[in-house]
C-alpha cells in the first residue's frame, strides 16, 4: 500500500478537518463568549461551555451509534430492526458491571466487547438461512426479547426494570460532573478514531466486498466470496462500535433507560442516517448533529408535539431528500451519471 503524504490526505478531507478543529476548540470558544477564562473551562467551572460539551458528547455518542448502523445497512445492505440491542447491551452491561459487580473500567470494557462479539455472532448465526425482510424480523424478535428481559421484574435487581438502571458509579477520572472536559475530548477522540477506522475499512478489500454484497449478493458469491463471513465481519465491527457508544452513554449519563433497548431507538438510528445520507459515512455524523439539535430544540419549544414533528421530518426527508444531506450534496457535486447510479444502487432491494 502506498504511503500517502500527509498533505495529499488533507485536501479531500478539508470539510472534515475544519469540523474537527471547530469541535476541538468549541469548549474554549464558548467559554470565552460567556466570559469564562480558558482556565475556568479547564477545571470544568463554566456553565454554558459545560452544558454545550454535554450536548456535544451526546452527539458524539449518537454519531458512533449511527455509524455502526450505516455500516451494516448502508454499506453491506443488511436490514436489521434490532440494532438498538447492540447499543443497549453496551450501556446496560457497563452499568451493571460497574454498579452491581464493582469491576474496574478496563475489565468492564473487556466484558462489553466480548458481549458485543457474541451478539454479532448471534445475529449472524441466522444469516445463512434467512434473508432480507425475514432477517429484519428475526433481529427485531431478538431485540424485543432483550427489551422485555431488561424491563422484567425478575432481573430488576440488575437492570432497574422499567424505571431504568440508576446510580452507576463512574470512575472519577472521567466523571461527567467533575471531569466533563476530559470526557469530551476522550469521546471526540474515540469518534475520530472510529471514523477513520471505518473509512479505512470501507475502502479496504474487505469493505469493497461488503459493498458488492449490498449491490448484488449473488454476483459476489459467484466471484467466489463467502459472503457469510463478510457479513459477519461487518456485523462484528458494527456491534463493537455500537457497544462502545453504549459504554460512553452510561459513563456520561449514569442512568440507563430501557428505551435504548426499544424499537424506537433503532428507528432513531435509521432516521439519523436517512437525514445524513444512507451509505455515506459522514452522513451519520451530520445526521447525528441535526437529529440531536432538532430534538433538543423541539423539545424545548414545543414540548409534547415533538414526536409529531419527528414523524413529519421523517416523511419530508423521505419524500424530498431521500439521499440525505451528504448524499444529495454528493449527487449534485459529482454530477456524473456514474455517481448517481452508484448511489441509486444503494436503494435497490436490500440483500435479497
Amino acid at each position: 500500500m502506498e504511503i500517502k503524504k500527509p498533505l495529499s490526505t488533507l485536501k479531500p478531507n478539508q470539510g472534515m478537518l475544519v469540523t474537527l478543529l471547530v469541535f476541538l476548540l468549541m469548549p474554549f470558544v464558548v467559554g470565552l463568549i460567556e466570559g469564562a477564562s480558558p482556565a475556568q473551562v479547564w477545571v470544568n467551572e463554566s456553565g454554558q461551555s459545560k452544558f454545550l460539551q454535554g450536548l456535544a458528547i451526546e452527539i458524539f455518542i449518537l454519531a458512533l451509534y449511527a455509524l455502526s448502523y450505516d455500516l451494516i445497512l448502508g454499506f453491506t445492505g443488511l436490514l436489521s430492526f434490532g440494532h438498538s440491542m447492540f447499543y443497549a447491551v453496551g450501556a446496560y452491561l457497563t452499568g451493571i458491571l460497574l454498579k452491581s459487580f464493582g469491576l474496574t473500567l478496563w475489565a468492564t470494557l473487556g466484558c462489553v466487547f466480548l458481549a458485543a462479539i457474541l451478539q454479532a455472532l448471534l445475529f449472524g448465526m441466522v444469516l445463512p438461512r434467512v434473508k432480507g425482510i425475514t432477517f429484519a424480523l428475526v433481529t427485531l424478535g431478538m431485540a424485543s426479547v432483550f427489551h422485555v428481559l431488561v424491563m422484567s421484574a425478575e432481573l430488576g435487581k440488575y437492570t432497574g426494570s422499567d424505571v431504568g438502571l440508576q446510580g452507576v458509579l463512574v470512575p472519577d477520572f472521567i466523571s461527567p460532573a467533575t471531569e466533563r472536559l476530559r470526557l469530551y475530548y476522550i469521546a471526540l477522540t474515540i469518534l475520530v478514531l472510529v471514523f477513520m477506522l471505518y473509512k479505512r475499512f470501507v475502502n479496504s478489500p474487505t469493505g469493497r466486498v461488503c459493498t458488492a454484497i449490498r449491490e448484488n449478493e449473488g454476483r459476489a458469491k459467484m466471484l467466489g466470496y463467502n459472503t457469510f463471513y463478510f457479513k459477519l465481519a461487518a456485523l462484528i465491527l458494527s456491534s463493537l462500535t455500537a457497544a462502545l457508544a453504549g459504554v460512553l452513554h452510561t459513563i456520561y449519563q449514569p442512568i440507563v433507560s430501557p428505551n435504548v433497548a426499544g424499537l424506537g431507538f433503532t428507528v432513531a438510528a435509521l432516521l439519523i442516517i436517512l437525514i445524513g445520507g444512507v451509505g455515506t459515512l459522514s452522513g451519520a455524523l451530520i445526521g447525528a448533529v441535526i437529529y440531536r439539535l432538532l430534538d433538543f430544540g423541539l423539545r424545548r419549544y414545543l414540548g409534547e408535539g415533538a414526536s409529531f414533528i419527528n414523524g413529519a421530518i421523517y416523511v419530508l426527508f423521505v419524500l424530498f431528500l431521500p439521499f440525505g444531506i451528504v448524499g444529495t450534496w454528493r449527487l449534485k457535486s459529482l454530477g456524473i451519471k456514474a455517481g448517481r447510479e452508484r448511489l441509486l444502487g444503494l436503494f435497490r432491494k436490500t440483500n435479497q
Binding site: K337, A338, E341, L344
Partner: protein
C-alpha cells in the same frame, strides 16, 4: 402491405446502460416478422420498449397510426397487443383456466375464443384444471401463447418461444404459430434461426442495440455472409 407497427429510432436505457441505441423496425400487417440477433443484442428490450415495460427515452413507436411511446403498458396492451414473454411468465398459482380467463379484456372473450384455442392446443383442454406450477415447460409455452390469444390482439409479440423445448415440441410450436398467424400479425424474437426461418416472412436483425438489416426471410436464408456476421456465435 400495411405497416401495423412502426418503430422509429428508439433509444432505451435500463438503469445507466444504453441498451437500444437507435432501433428502426417496420412490422407489416398480417405476416410474421422475426427479430434476429445474438444474445444480448437488444431483441427482448425492443419488445419491451414497444409494450412500454421499458419505455424508450427517445424515438417513436406508432401502432395503427397512433403514437404509443410514453403510454402506460396496460394502455398499450389494451390497444390490442399480446405479449408472450421469454420464460413464459405463466402464473404459477393460477389454474390453466384462470391463466386464460385473466387475459380477458372484454367480458366473454374467453368463452368466445375457447374453441379456437383448444383447436390450436388440444392438450390445454385436458390440463384445464391444473395449476400453472404443475405444467411442463412445453405445456407452459402453449399456455403462454394461448393466453395472448384470448383477447382480440392484432399484434402478438412472442419472445424466444422455442427456448428450452425438446425438438418434437418445437415442431408442434411451429405448427401452432403458423396457424395463429393467419389472423394476427406476429413479431417473433428467436435465437434459433431454423425455427425463425421456417416461420417468418420478414426479418430484422438487431446488433448491439441497433437495427442493422431488414428484409424478406427468403432472401436472408440464401445470404450466408449476413447470417454468419450477425447471427452466429462471435
Amino acid at each position: 402491405m400495411d405497416i401495423l407497427l412502426d418503430v422509429q429510432g428508439i433509444h432505451t436505457f435500463i438503469g445507466q446502460y444504453h441498451i437500444l441505441q437507435g432501433v428502426d423496425v417496420s412490422i407489416p400487417q398480417g405476416a410474421i416478422t422475426a427479430l434476429l440477433g445474438r444474445n444480448g443484442a437488444g431483441k427482448t428490450t425492443t419488445l419491451k420498449s414497444i409494450l412500454g415495460l421499458t419505455p424508450p427515452r427517445q424515438g417513436r413507436v406508432i401502432f395503427r397510426g397512433r403514437e404509443i411511446q410514453g403510454m402506460r403498458s396496460f394502455e398499450i396492451a389494451a390497444l390490442g397487443i399480446g405479449f408472450v414473454p421469454e420464460h413464459r411468465a405463466v402464473f404459477r398459482d393460477l389454474t390453466v383456466e384462470e391463466n386464460l380467463k385473466i387475459a380477458e379484456r372484454k367480458k366473454g372473450d374467453y368463452p368466445r375464443k375457447q374453441d379456437f384455442i383448444f383447436t390450436l392446443f388440444p392438450d390445454l383442454k385436458r390440463l384445464i384444471g391444473l395449476m400453472g406450477t404443475n405444467l411442463s415447460g412445453g405445456q407452459q409455452q402453449m399456455l403462454a401463447i394461448a393466453r395472448a390469444l384470448v383477447a382480440d390482439n392484432q399484434l402478438l409479440l412472442i419472445d424466444e418461444p422455442s427456448e428450452g423445448l425438446a425438438p418434437v415440441l418445437i415442431e408442434q410450436l411451429i405448427k401452432a404459430i403458423h396457424q395463429l398467424s393467419a389472423d394476427s400479425t406476429v413479431v417473433l424474437v428467436e435465437q434459433n434461426f431454423l425455427v425463425a426461418s421456417q416461420l417468418a416472412e420478414y426479418y430484422v436483425i438487431i446488433e448491439e442495440g441497433r437495427s442493422v438489416r431488414q428484409g424478406k426471410m427468403k432472401d436472408l436464408i440464401q445470404d450466408k455472409e449476413t447470417i454468419h456476421r450477425y447471427l452466429e456465435a462471435a
